[in-house]
Amino acid sequence: MKKILVVDDERSVVEVLTKKLISEGYEVGVAYDGQEALDKIAKEKFDLVLLDIIMPVLDGMSVLKRLKESEETKNIPVIVLTNLQDDDKILQVVIAGQSDYLIKANYSLEDLVEAVRKKIP
């Protein structure tokens, strides 16, 4: 069973995503800030990370950067989930980090699951 880590400081977002992904047959881990996400990834093996950008303690950009820097984690696919759009610098890093990204409000859950399926069929 594929295992997905959902990282977002917004608890309702984490909850809705967890429910949907479980119903789609995935195993789901959750983290509410960037540091927690890194700790989890260090302990367990995840097949995909859904990552928010604006978070307390450690933001999504730093998490993405560290994941891509480490040999062990750089091949884990990441989908950035954000409502930020104007910050071009963030987008550049996301693109350079070879990560997909979705504007949360503009996509339905079905779209999101579709994107996940593409990454881990």
Binding site: V16, N83, D86, K104, A105, L109
Partner: protein, 782 residues
Amino acid sequence: MKIRTRILINFLVVFVIIVTIVTLVTVELNTRAIRATYLNNIQGVSEMRDDEIRRFIQDQKTIIIIISQEDGFQEFLQSGQIRSEYATSAQQLLGAYLKEDSIFNEIFLLDNKGKVVLSTDKTQVGEDKNNDPYFVNGLKGPYIKDIYLSSTTNKIGYALSAPIIDSKTGKTLGVVVARVKPDGLFNLLEDRSGLGQTGETFLINKDRMFLTPSLFKGSDVILKEKVETQNAKDCFNPEEIAKYKDAPIGNHLNMPQLKQYVDYRGVNIYGTHSYIQESGWCLIAKIDQSEVSDPVRQQIIFHVAANIIGGLIFIIVAFLVSRSITKPLEELHEGTEVIEKGNLDYKVGTDTRDEVGQLSRSFDVMVASIKQSRIEVDKRVEEQTKELVERSRAMEEQRAAILNILEDVEDEKNKTAVERDRMDAILHSIGDGVFVVDKNLSIILINDVALKMCGHEIKDAVGKNYNEVLRFVYEAKPDTINDKFIKDAMATGKVQEMANHTMLECSEGRKIAVADSAAPLKDKNGVVVGCVVVFRDVSKERQIDRMKTEFISLASHQLRTPLSAIKWFVELLGDTKLDAEQKDFSKNIAMSTERMIELVNALLNVSRIESGRIVIAPTPTNIGDLLKGMIKELQQKIDERKQVLNTDIAENLSKINIDPALIRQVYMNLLTNAIKYTPVKGKISVKIFVKDTDVISQITDTGIGIPEEDKNKVFTKFYRSADAVKIEPNGNGLGLYLAIAIVESSGGKMWFESKVGQGTSFFFSLPLSGSKPKKGEVSLDS
């Protein structure tokens, strides 16, 4: 350098070169000729002498042979010297020889034992000579004995001897010996013809002793002095002697060429030698080197002297010739100096007939004509001076008249100064920056506020083109001057607003956001003569604007996060088991959420456009295809409302360079509006056509139309007309605002025509030349 000196030097140089060459050649040739003459002479003499001596020796031998054949001698010796009559006749015979020919000192006969049996010197008779070479050799044939000092006579001479042979029996009876005076030989060698002053020939014997007298030391050297010179030694070299063997008289092939030697005196000579085989002597011929070279030296001295004398004569001639050439020139020069001092009556007056003479006479003629023209000039100057005096008097009068007028003008000026001061006071008390330009765009008036904004002084501003003083630029494109509003105002004669986001750029690089307008300045005939520009610092307003935009942006982000959670939960809710009423509720929640998200996205787009940070990325696009594609997307909505949509897209539309995502947004807004506000079963038409340099899109609905009082608010943000709200309560009032903002930032224009009750046509143009790309930071949310 003076011409004369130059001529002299040229002459001298040529002369020296020619004379030197001629002298060198002549001396060389003469030297050779002289030396050849002398040396040929000495060579010739030595050859001749060689022949003479050899012939002389032959002659001597012939003489002694003839003597030896005298019958009287034979008879005397046959008789055994007993018969006195033979002895007497033989004695007479000897005496006769001595008498007849004085070359002999003594003649005597030896018997075959070597004993003197008969002699002209009777004291000799009875002497035994059987060891003497003339006896030993004389027995064999004619013999000549070297010159020697006779022990008996104490005289220098040589001896000839020959056998006396019995003509009948062939038996040798004895030997006849003749002592010969050397005078004949000496005469031969002392012949000085062809030998010059120091030439000589002499003989030496195999002991290298002189046999004949020396020119320089006389006859005392004979048999007393030895010749120790190299050529003497060479002459008796056995190899050398061998070459001469059997050479006939007249053959001088073996005689060596003349060479330089040192002779017995120690003097340098040219000499040669020849071996006389008949007698074993050596003939030496020589001449002093000095005699040969002296004439050469004399030759050289003569030539040099001749050249010096010739040179002096030549210089004198050259001097005279150059003088004859330069003298007229000097006269001419003196003449010019005199004339230069002002004496125009002077005449050079050279009477020579050559070119200089002609020049000089022409010069005189020229001076005369100068004098004539000067007289004329003086006359004309006098006339003009008179005229000038008259004119200046007239001008003086005019000046007085002008002064009067100026006084009047001064009064007027004082009056206008009062008015101008009043106007200045007004201008400078205005709180906004104001400046006035003339039709050449030069500043003619400027107030303190305008000056202070960039810290200018009034003297730096007035009279200059306003662009040099106040640079208005676009905020987004700081390199581009934005003075269209001023130019438009002057061109159209109407008040023009500044474009949004205009900055005033100060020289030190500081930029101030400004806003306001330009109003044309007209004269009383309504012709534009300048422009009044009023502007003010809107930095603070701009800052507040920016803060507002940032607030909207941030708020929208924050709003989107809970909205997305709501959206997703409603989506999950839809998957659960719900009754009909609950389903209806959740559907309403989903729709409201969707509208909320759209509103937030629209607000975000507005803030992006307003902040000027939008990206424009033009790509060649066929906008006809773009529009057709969108109609297809919206076809379902059109069909739902049973509307008819006509399209009229110009054929052969070429692709234009625009940002398709942005223009799509414009079409989307206009089309959805048209569908919304056209009643069910109503007609919608879209049209794309080319006009001048633009492509114009027209979207026409058959809706309610826009009432006159609302027309100027149509493109205002959040504005919705009351009628529109009635028809479609869900609009957000941002669609047209966004559409016009996009079109304008793409280089186009947007406008509309509308009649209440009939419908509205929205138009927007895009330049065929395409949009300019812009590197922004953000793109629009779709």
